[in-house]
Amino acid sequence: MKRHALSTRLWHWTNLVCVVVMFMSGLTISNAHPRLYWGEWGFAPGQAWLMVPRFPDWMTVPGYYSLAVARDWHILMAWPFALALLFIWIAMLANGHFFRDILTRRTEWAPHNIAKDVKAHLRLDFDHGSGKYNFLQKLTYAIVFGILLPGMVFTGISISPGMEPSFGWVVDLFGGRQSARSFHFIFAFSILGFLILHVTLVMLAGPFKLLRGMITGRQSDEA
């Protein structure tokens, strides 16, 4: 059996490119109006719940301030990002990856199991026996797949005025257009947080073995 299915590997790297380009072009878009509000409307500093710092050019796509070019990139990469997410969800449900590896069991929520998992992580002990993922991994992936990634798509739809007639209910779900825009930022930075954690843990747990697994799909001796 392969460590990672072909669908997982294809999606993983496609998604990485999409997330990086969308995040960096998103920083340029943020620079255009670096304030976040709750509710339907907001335009002035006094209404903002967060004054976002200005992101320097080396972090942004493009590498100079152009809202138009940043929007070009953002709008382009939204397609592969959203379609790939739809693809991996269908693949995960069809090939059992979701039910087998990501969905948590009731017993895993037992406090002693969670405590055991946290302690193992703190000792940097990544040997989790026969199962593919431990509880914290499953929970993290479930949040990423179930909330953060689709959350980016749905908050993106909510801030698009052209989608308002049919998707006004999604806007309501987030509590208004400016709230949806705030969640768009919160989810994006949560994904950045996940990316940092993910790369750090891969570095600690054996980067070459894990990278090989995600590229070739080959099974390594320790699962």
Partner: protein, 245 residues
């Protein structure tokens, strides 16, 4: 420190790569294509006459911010002090009966009042109550010719040496909430919001809502207007012509 340098270098290299890709011809075509896919998808998912949300008076924001030109120059101040009595809105181009309308003519047409949310391309939103005739009434009165494909909005204001203009296709031109507004929150339009007339194109971003409106022109192609981009910001900065996203 070394890790930060690496990050900066990696970021810069990535950005340089993106810039190079974006400047190439096929990429420019791809970026344009992505914009038109969004337009097609939005049009598919939202029926032509589907309305955006209309709010209640309680939802109106305490102030309606103005962007772009907020105080036109030239002959504008004189016209303003005259209560815009000499202002004319021309409906022309590919129409059977060109019109030249005064503000009084426009006020006498059937009016639509709508409390809608304005979303700026920069990211902010404000809610206001707009009133004015539907654009479709003016276009029907002028009699659109068969080869008309786009409606161009001509404006009084000149930004950095170019006259502001915008354009939409007939789907948005005939949308029930596309109105020529002369009132905001029950008062004549404030100067910063486009007095005496401005467009409301409710399913698109703010830069499409042309202010200081002087002309409505039916055309078959946008190629020969301005730099051919279909609008001031489209020509000047490469903004997307379809601004539903």
């Amino acid at each position: 420190m070394r890790r930060r340098n690496f990050l900066v270098a990696a970021g810069a290299a990535f950005v340089a790569g993106c810039n190079r890709v974006a400047d190439s011809k096929p990429a420019a075509r791809l970026l344009d294509a992505a914009e038109s896919w969004h337009k097609s998808a939005q049009r598919f998912l939202n029926p032509p006459d589907a309305l955006v949300r209309e709010y209640s008076r309680a939802d109106i924001s305490p102030f309606f911010r103005g962007n772009g030109t907020t105080e036109p120059g030239g002959a504008y101040p004189a016209m303003q002090s005259n209560g815009f009595a000499d202002w004319r809105l021309e409906v022309r181009g590919l129409v059977d009966n060109p019109l030249s309308l005064t503000l009084e003519n426009i006020r006498r047409l059937p009016q639509r009042t709508q409390i809608t949310r304005h979303d700026c391309v920069e990211g902010w939103s404000a809610i206001g109550e707009w009133a004015g005739p539907q654009l479709s009434i003016l276009l029907e009165a002028a009699g659109l010719q068969d080869d008309a494909r786009f409606i161009v909005f001509r404006c009084f204001d000149n930004l950095s040496g170019s006259d502001y203009y915008e354009s939409v296709d007939l789907v948005d031109a005939f949308h029930p909430q596309t109105i020529v507004a002369h009132m905001l929150n029950g008062e004549p339009l404030p100067v910063r919001n486009g007095a005496p007339l401005r467009m409301r194109i409710e399913r698109q971003l703010g830069y499409k809502h042309a202010k200081y409106l002087t002309g409505i022109e039916a055309v078959s192609s946008l190629d020969d207007i301005g730099a051919g981009g279909g609008g001031y910001w489209e020509d000047r900065s490469g903004y997307q012509w379809y601004a539903g996203i």
